[in-house]
């Protein structure tokens, strides 16, 4: 079935249970899909844009209110929507980082955090992870001291991930923020895997910036995200234009430089807005998501040789798993080699595992129904027994 031309209609989530580690939190709610139908045209939110001509001032649809609601929901003072968390990283770096400034990242930082630093000419310096794959306040303190000693400068900014993309582990954000602030280093909280799926309060975490991803965790179309900050930094991050055309004398009102004026001008913000009431509700159901995830984790760990590399018990639905001593052993002699596994999953209606992966891989159980969790658990057990792997009762 085609959408038009050579574009095939994507039906992954209608025909299968998707456990793709990066996709599940960004799947649209019914209301967001309806908003996509109604607001798919380019500048669809601009019909009623009036002076001062800026996205976050638009009252119809209620985009101005949405901005205020986002800030208060995250317990921060100001918020802007951005085209993905990465553009939030970039905006903060452009405001705070000067060429040659060291910036603290972590051994578990996403590549876009590095690119954000690079875009501002900063120099990335990583906090190492410990043997449990955690970023700790002590390691943050040691890294800051090392950087001050070797670079001769206090870092301009510290990035830390609420939940990292590699293991889905939580880190001690409050402790790390406290350490950074004792050196007057502002803290950017990367909430790409938290904002929109579990409760987040910037105030409680004690951070200066909260960045979220619409398409990763807020049931919104890509690219979308948010950048929230405190009163202390809002003016600097959201500085308005001051330039003037030398021939025409034109000026550009109150457009914000780091935002490049307006950001999400159509279907992205409307999808994000339509999902928002559901997102506010679903973060309160986080424990239920963990319970459903546990059904699958229990099944996988009952397969002999299978190890969970993420923290146990799981406190997030994104999990890194090592199946070198289970599913990969089958791959060694299987005629399809490593592809037998994803092929068997696909035949049973499970999608989202990288084709051929049987060694170390990731999956995310977020958003499935309890019935789908039971079914998925059963599929892993079926594939194991079918291929002669021992399953412990």
């Amino acid at each position: 079935m085609r959408c038009g031309g050579d574009i095939e209609a994507r039906q992954v989530d209608e025909t299968a249970i998707n456990i793709d580690p990066i996709q599940v939190g960004g799947r649209l709610t019914a209301d967001a899909m309806k908003a996509v139908i109604a607001y798919g045209d380019g500048y669809s939110v601009c019909d009623n844009c009036r002076k001062p001509f800026r996205l976050d001032y638009i009252k119809k649809p209620p985009i101005a209110d949405f901005h205020a609601d986002l800030a208060s929901w995250l317990e921060m003072d100001s918020c802007r929507v951005v085209p993905g968390a990465r553009r939030g990283f970039q905006a903060v770096c452009q405001a705070l980082v000067k060429r040659g400034d060291p910036v603290i990242l972590t051994a578990l930082s996403h590549y876009t955090e590095f690119l954000g630093v690079e875009s501002a000419g900063g120099v990335p310096r990583e906090i190492p992870k410990d043997e449990r794959n955690h970023i700790t306040p002590d390691a943050a303190a040691e890294t800051i001291e090392r950087v001050i000693r070797t670079d001769g400068k206090t870092p301009a900014l510290l990035f830390v991930e609420g939940v990292d993309y590699q293991f889905g582990n939580h880190h001690d954000i409050r402790g790390i923020a406290k350490v950074a602030h004792s050196y007057d280093i502002p803290v950017l909280y990367n909430g790409a895997y938290t904002v929109g799926i579990l409760p987040v309060s910037g105030r409680d975490l004690g951070v200066d910036f909260v960045i979220g991803s619409g398409h990763k965790s807020m049931a919104a179309p890509a690219p979308s995200g948010l950048l929230a900050t405190t009163e202390e930094y809002a003016e600097k991050i959201f500085a308005t234009t001051a330039v003037k055309g030398d021939q025409t004398g034109r000026t550009f009102g109150i457009k914000e430089v780091a935002m490049m004026g307006c950001t999400l001008m159509g279907v992205t913000i409307m999808g994000m807005m339509a999902s928002f009431p559901h997102v506010k509700e679903r973060v309160l159901q986080w424990d239920e998501e963990l319970r459903k995830g546990k059904i699958i984790i229990d099944a996988l760990t009952s397969i002999e040789g299978t190890k969970i590399l993420s923290d146990m018990p799981r406190e997030h639905t994104l999990t890194r798993i090592d199946t070198r001593e289970s599913f990969d052993r089958v791959a060694e002699t299987h005629k399809k080699r490593g592809f037998y596994f994803t092929s068997a999953l696909g035949k049973r209606g499970i999608a989202g595992v990288i084709p051929g992966a049987t060694k170390v891989w990731k999956f995310n159980t977020y958003g499935m129904t309890a019935g789908q969790a039971e079914y998925t658990a059963g599929v892993f057990l079926d594939i194991a027994t079918e291929n002669g792997l021992a399953v412990n009762e």
Partner: protein, 59 residues
């Protein structure tokens, strides 16, 4: 301009979207419970009503 036809068009797309979500929530087997079947039946009936309006207005 037929506001009625336009409303019927959007309403039918929205109702079909609710069915799409139902497909997602019951994937991959799409074995609907009695309650889900009842909901699906109501949605389909409503879609038919909207399609009837479109026919009345446009043809």
């Amino acid at each position: 301009m037929s506001q009625r036809a336009t409303d019927a068009l959007f309403q039918s797309l929205f109702l079909l979207t609710d069915i799409r979500v139902m497909l997602r929530e019951t994937a991959p087997l799409h074995q609907l419970s009695a309650e889900e079947k009842e909901t699906a039946g109501k949605l389909l009936k409503s879609v038919r009503r909207q399609v009837d309006i479109l026919e009345e207005e446009l043809i």
